[in-house]
Amino acid sequence: MLKPITILVSVDSNSALLGARHYKNYLSQLVKKYNLDSITDVLETGSFGNYGEGVLISILPENIHYSVKSEKDIELIVQEYLLKGRRVPSLVVEKIEKEETEEKKKNVEERVVLRNAGEIDPKNINEYIAKDGYQALAKVLNEERIEVINKVKESGLRGRGGAGFPTGMKWEFTYKVDNPEKYVICNADEGEPGTFKDRLIMEGDPHSVIEGMAIAAYAVGANKGYIYIRGEYFESISNLRKAIEQAYEYGLLGDNILDSGFNFDLSVRLGAGAYVCGEETALIESIEGKSGRPRLKPPYPPVSGLYGKPTVVNNVETYASVPPIIINGPDWFKVLGTSNSAGTKVFSLCGNLINKGIVEVKMGTTVSDLVYNFGGGIRDGKAIKMIQTGGAAGTFIKPEEMNTPLDFDSMKNYGISLGSGVILAINEDHCAVDVALNLMEFFEHESCGKCTPCREGTKVIVDILHKFSKGQGSEELFNSLYDIAETMEASAFCGLGQAVPIPLRSILDRFKDEFMAHVGVDEAPCGVCKFPKKKKKVH
């Protein structure tokens, strides 16, 4: 039975680490203490979308949003609002005003993938169903498999994990292979530094991923699926497990789904801290219970994937895009984006921005729009120095390049990557050498060691960058970084090693003078690197 008052506490990861779970526990405690528990439900929900300094809670049916920063704030809400029926103006968060000015309109998101995040209780399947959830699955089960694939092809949907391969084509390859056993896998091993969109989707709307996977499985003729989630994503893991359990109870997973004769089993697998497992064949190895080292391609997974069977591997965001495409039609999705990149893209804004967080906008939105209109610009009145787009394997650009629209063609047209949708803004206090060193240490750490170009290449790059950061660099060493990049690009075994040259070259190209300023001087010019003190000459 629904109780008269519902209090929703936003417990997505970002809120949780501001103490949301602690506040929720405390709120429940107080509700009980004042004997309000017969009329009040305290529930967890996903992200409401904006991250201030507080945890957002929403009180229904009045739909007031409060921002909570301490236990005192909770006490105030219980005593003033619940007991006395008075609002607490000091804590109220104003929603977006109704009369939108031109300035505000620019900031409007286009929510397709995140349509339900923060709107529904992710732990309750009924709320997803109430928002037309599983309608798309019911619809496709009455259609021919190839019709479904054609719709996805027509929509122009491309993989959201970074590579941008056309999703419908991937499904068609798998569909065409004649094999009674096939698999669908969801790559939820989100590890690209700066990316946190998949986490938000899984925590805020797990059923959208399950529904997208079930549609894919039906279309290609698979009966089993896995969601491979990185082991550190505890909240995503428990939300998806709960969602799968509920979907089984409702007959939306398992045997004879909705009386269609279609069977589909779905299960969660955990990663254990290996970036390389985001590479699809390494991920497959990991599900098979092995170390996550990539396989030689071809054959690609649509032909020979998990246990050697045809396998579709798609990203979380890709699957979550599928149900709205089926419901609204391919044309609806197409017009949202640019000519070669249909739909919306979820961007992760991070670094020195004023408003860090997740936004979903049309494909083709410019870097500058994301940095200034959505990100609010750089914090503390500092100047922007560089932006890394696309993730760790993405490109560094200078402020004057920010007018570039981001879509799958921006790499080809402007040499700027879309990748997994990261916008990492870095302010003037930082040093290009230090940034490059930190990034390359990441790749050195995450190289799986299988092939020499990547294992040794990343190590040599880090050694050279260390030299620059200690004042021991030279023009010759600077140039040798390009040689290593060329070797890795040409001969690394998998995407991890092949991608290392992208960020490396982009930062070397744009900040050569800064690297050179570290050469032949006694003190670091940047205020970040620390040169060892030179020994005084003994006379």
């Binding site: 680490l17 550190e232 254990a272 970036y275």
Partner: protein, 168 residues
């Protein structure tokens, strides 16, 4: 811990985890996670031997898997494992200073455990919480918007059992 107890623990875990199995051999990582949770953040060699005995997976392969993935440990770790993000989005947002403060507060370096066996400090690649950088995780709970002062308080609070959201 008698050998029989270990045997029973590992067997129970394996049976429970196998409920999620769709194909033979697809639950090894999930099983290892559960065993590690049970034994307080590490996998004793006896437990690995029992798992080999139950599943037939060679011990050498189990060891290879354990040593490949950074979340697993074959060495005893502290009651709380602290994973602090070292990736660029945190690094440029005050992360470098937070790392230093944390090392100083705990008096240990990466990969080490405090003498009282309470904390183990590990560096992590991006934890996917860049909206509130810099961040760290203590066991399953995440902490964001860290500053050198804040990490010191958190460590004290966790030690004194003042946080309702962190479990040992």
């Amino acid at each position: 811990m008698s050998r029989d107890e270990i045997r029973k623990t590992v067997e129970d875990i394996y049976v429970r985890v196998s409920n999620e199995s769709l194909e033979k051999g697809d639950v090894l990582l999930n099983t290892l996670h559960e065993i590690q949770d049970h034994y307080n953040n590490f996998i004793p060699v006896e437990a690995a031997e029992e798992l080999h005995d139950i599943t037939g997976v060679p011990l050498s392969k189990i060891y290879e898997v354990l040593s490949f993935y950074t979340m697993f440990s074959t060495e005893k770790r502290g009651q709380y494992v602290i994973r602090i993000c070292k990736s660029l989005p945190c690094h440029v947002d005050g992360g470098a200073e937070v790392v230093e403060a944390l090392k100083e507060k705990l008096g240990i370096d990466f990969g080490e455990t405090t003498e009282d066996g309470v904390f183990t400090l590990e560096q992590s690649s991006c934890l996917g919480l860049c909206g509130v950088s810099p961040v760290m995780m203590i066991n399953e709970e995440a902490y964001g918007n860290l500053t050198p002062e804040k990490v010191k308080t958190i460590i004290d609070d966790v030690k004194d059992g003042k946080r309702s959201d962190v479990n040992a």
